[in-house]
Structure formats: structure tokens, C-alpha cells
């Protein structure tokens, strides 16, 4: 089953978008997860709900919200483009943003749980040994939470890879720019005789997802073994 150029393009684009989306949102996900796990502040419940919103909203609504905010005339998108020349509208960067937003709650949840499982007294012990807060986080909290972070990354990546609704609403379906595997499958299904291509791409998408899950399982096991030694 040979893949056409368009199909290859969609796969490469999907991987690029998912990698960029995951890599860029990871620091934010870690920060948000830490805040939710370790800090109490006014409005925490609302903050938590907003983080989880993309999980429960129809993806089309999230895409529409992104369009309003980050579109060419959006209240964030317009100044971003004017000041920094960064544009999201109808570009692959926009697809990455949509994927990142949709995958964010899936990343935050396991990382947060991993932070909650780290004994805060270990952080205090590190402090009493002279470690400043950021160091404590870097050498105690984060390594101990590493398996959860790995799980979050894999889940976020898998979600980013398969994102469709928000992406197509926000940045449309432009071949080579925003047409990911999911968009390509949808496009194929829209055209007569495209079922075979759709099936091929579906199998590839499933394969990538299974590999990602296996990788996350392996990472989690290795981390568990390391801390038990």
C-alpha cells in the first residue's frame, strides 16, 4: 500500500505539529500542574475548570474561541502579529496552538497527580539542606514526578496528533499547511473512492498512537524500577 505524496505530507505535518505543540505546552503544563498540586489561591477552582474546559467543550467551540482570540483580527492575534510577526491564522503554527490547547488538560492531569504523590516533606528536607526553591523543584520534585510527566507528555502528544475539530475550525484544511492526518482522512472521506486512503491513514494513526502509549508505559516502568532500586 503505497502512500501518496499528500498522505506523506499529512503524516509529516501531523508529527511536526504534535511535537511542537507538546514541547511548547510542556513547561506551561508543568507549571500549572505544580500550582494546582502545591498551592492554594483564590479562584483555584475556577482556574482548574478553565484548564479542563477544552476537554468538555465541543472542539468546534474551542476552535471558534481560538479564532476570536488568535485570528488575524483577534484581540491577541492582531497585536502578536503587529509586534512580533507571529501569526497563527491559517498556518501550521495555529494548528499546533489548537493541538496544544486541546491536549493541555490531558497533560496537566497526570503531572498534577505525580506532583501530589511527591512527599512535600522531601522538599522541606531539601530546603533545610540549603536548596533554593527552584533547585528543590529541579532536583527533588521533578525527578520524583518524572513518570507522571512522561505519561502527560505521551497523552498530550497523542491528543495533539489526532486533534481535528478545533484545528479545522481555527486554521481550516490547507494542504501542506494545516492538513493533518485527521484532516486528510476527513478530506478523503469527502471525495468519492477515498475510503482506501482513509483506511490506510487510520491504520497509521492508530499505529502511532499505540507506539506512543507503549513508550509511555515503558518510561513509567523504567522510572518505577529506578526509584525502587
Amino acid at each position: 500500500m503505497a502512500l501518496s505524496g499528500e498522505e506523506w505530507m499529512a503524516i509529516a505535518l501531523s508529527l511536526k505539529i504534535a511535537l511542537v505543540a507538546t514541547a511548547c505546552s510542556l513547561p506551561f503544563a508543568v507549571a500549572v500542574a505544580w500550582l494546582l498540586a502545591r498551592r492554594d489561591f483564590p479562584g483555584k477552582t475556577i482556574f482548574d475548570a478553565i484548564i479542563h474546559l477544552p476537554l468538555v467543550l465541543p472542539p468546534v467551540v474551542t476552535g471558534f474561541a481560538l479564532l476570536v482570540a488568535f485570528g488575524r483580527h483577534g484581540f491577541i492575534g492582531a497585536p502578536l502579529e503587529r509586534l512580533f510577526g507571529i501569526s497563527f491564522a491559517f498556518r501550521w503554527t495555529g494548528a499546533a496552538l489548537a493541538a496544544a490547547v486541546m491536549g493541555f488538560p490531558l497533560m496537566v492531569r497526570p503531572i498534577r497527580q505525580a506532583f501530589e504523590a511527591v512527599d512535600p516533606r522531601l522538599e522541606r528536607a531539601a530546603g533545610s539542606l540549603g536548596a533554593p526553591p527552584l533547585w528543590r523543584f529541579a532536583v527533588v520534585t521533578l525527578p520524583l514526578a518524572a513518570p507522571g510527566v512522561a505519561v502527560g507528555v505521551i497523552l498530550g502528544f497523542a491528543k495533539a496528533l489526532g486533534e481535528f475539530g478545533a484545528t479545522i475550525t481555527f486554521v481550516s484544511n490547507i494542504p501542506g499547511e494545516t492538513r493533518t492526518i485527521a484532516s486528510e482522512i476527513w478530506t478523503q472521506l469527502q471525495s468519492p473512492g477515498g475510503e482506501a486512503a482513509a483506511l490506510r491513514l487510520s491504520l497509521i494513526a492508530a499505529g502511532i498512537a499505540v507506539c506512543a502509549l507503549a513508550a509511555s508505559e515503558m518510561l513509567a516502568r523504567r522510572a518505577a524500577r529506578r526509584s525502587a532500586q
Partner: protein, 363 residues
Amino acid sequence: MIEFQAFDQRRDFTLDVDFALNAGVSALFGPSGSGKSTILNLIAGLERPQRGRIALDGNVLLDTARGVFVPAHKRRIAVVFQDALLFPHLNVRRNIAFGRFFAPKDAPAIPQELVVAALGVGHMLDRRPATLSGGERQRVGLARALLASPRLLLMDEPLAALDDERKIEIMALIERLRAEFSTPILYVSHAVEEVVRLAQDVVVLDKGQVAAQGAPATALMRARGVMARERFHLASALDCALGAYDPAYDLTQFIHPSGQGALVGRVGPSGKPVRILVRATDIALATGPQTGLSIRTRLAGAVESIHADAGALAFVHVVLAGGDRLVASVTRSAIAELDLAPGKQVDCLIKSVALDERPVNEF
């Protein structure tokens, strides 16, 4: 020198204490709920009081009146925790190197080899904390704290999670640290035996207040309210010298200004100073001549005071010849029968098998 003054009112507990400690090993003693853990957290910088001032060697760590608060990691006060709290993802070598990494480069550093040797952790450097026993973990915890070059070592019930054998082993190690390294130690415990054995100065706490302070023997005796709840932990310490060893019965004589007695086994050379721990429940008081007793240890003194309530028990404080004080736990009925009263001469009879000794050459 630790200067500590704090007031902190909570829902069901008010801490209001003021003390200064200036000994190689000091102790905070009191039952659970007396406030000793809170004080430890305040000194370590893990909590803040509503009002207070804490200074270490003249260096102000906290002064609520002037808005001074030095965060925990800048205080250079290392804590040895009850359950060691080693970093589970790091091996022993990295655990004990942790504090050294963050210590200021100009801090007086104790050579790692010395600490490793003193605490006997050399053979476990490549192991992970999960594979260590409780006693081994606590040794590593001590090494880790010491190698951070702290200005003060806080020990938070470091023996509470260990069995008796390990307790004795770690206690001996702490004594060794005190003798070999100059790091001052503040030892927090609710076990009289540990405090009497390790500390030179003790603050006795009760319900968030200082009940007494001073040398362990006297401070613990003065704090009667605390002790009445714990008669099995009530003990006095006597400074004695060793006498001759009797190989026929495997007993070592000891000499105290008020009399003499016997210790089990060969304890040390004649003339060596020892501090002997006597539990209040191991002492019998006698007023008349005694014959036909198995007792090997007999010390003469006079009743100083008697503390009793309506219950069955009373505590008798005895001043021994030479000035040491002893507290004995006896029944109220015995006090009536012997007609004990302040000033009355008594013999304190102690079973030799109940005596605990320790060398005091490092005092």
C-alpha cells in the same frame, strides 16, 4: 547560641515560649502536643509565628517586629527527621553530597571521609534508600545533615522510628558526632533516656510553655507536671567514677559521693568518669537498717520534697550526699508507712541490673 522567643495562637493550641540555649547538645523535651515540633519548625524556618524573634549566634533569623524572615534554605540549619526522609531517587552517595552542593563555598566544611567513617556508611554509598534498613537510613540522614556544614543540627525525634537495639546504636553515634565535630545540636524528643544521655541543657515544654530549663537531671525533675504522666520514663543522672572490676561476678564497682554500687559487666578502667541513668521506678527508699536484700547499689541522701496528688503514686526528690538529685517513684502508702518528710535521711536502693551507664569524658 540559640535565642528563641515566639508567640503563636492557634485554634486549639497556644505557643508562648522564650529561652536561650548555649550548649553543644541541647534538647527540647516534652510530651506530644507540648509544642516542641512547632518550635523546631520555627527554628528551621518551615513555619512562621505570629510574633517572635529567633537568632542563631547573634544572627537574626526571624524578627516579626522588624519584618525579618530568613527563608529555610538560607538559614544553614539542617534537620534530621524521624524517618530520615532520604531522597528516594538518589543513591546514598548523592544523598549525602546533597547539602554540600548547596553550602556556601566559604563554609567550614567537614571532610566527607570523616563523616562517612564516623557514621559507618561507607559500604552503602551505591545503594538506594529503599534498600536500607531503618537504622541505616538514619545514619545516612545524619551524614547528609552534617555534610551540609550547618550552623545548627536539628534532630526531630531521630530515634522514634527505630527498635531498641538501633536506638542504642544511633544514640552512641550521636554522642560520637558531638565528640568529633563541633556542630551544635538541638535534640527534640519525648524520651527522657535520650535527653538525659545526650543533652547538656534541656528545655522542658508543657502545653506550649517552658516548664523548666537547665541540666537534664534537675530540669526534668523540676517539671513535675510533665513527669507525672510518664513515670516509666522519669529518670535521674548521677555523675560517678568507676571502681574496681570483679571478674568473679563480672561486676564493675562505681563510686558516688553518696555511696557505691555495681554495674553489670566490665565497663571500663578504674577512675573513668561515668554518668549513670537511674529510672524513678527502679529505686526503693529505706529508712531503717536493711538486711537480706539482693540490692547491690545503695546511695545515702535526704528527702528534699514529696510530690503527690490523690492518686496512688508519689514522686520523692532526694538530695544525695555530694549534691546530685534523684527522683524516686513510690506509692503514697509507702510514704505514710515510712513517715517520709522533707529533711528525713533515706537510703536509695537500686537494682544493679536496672542501671545504664555512659562515659562522660566528652563533657
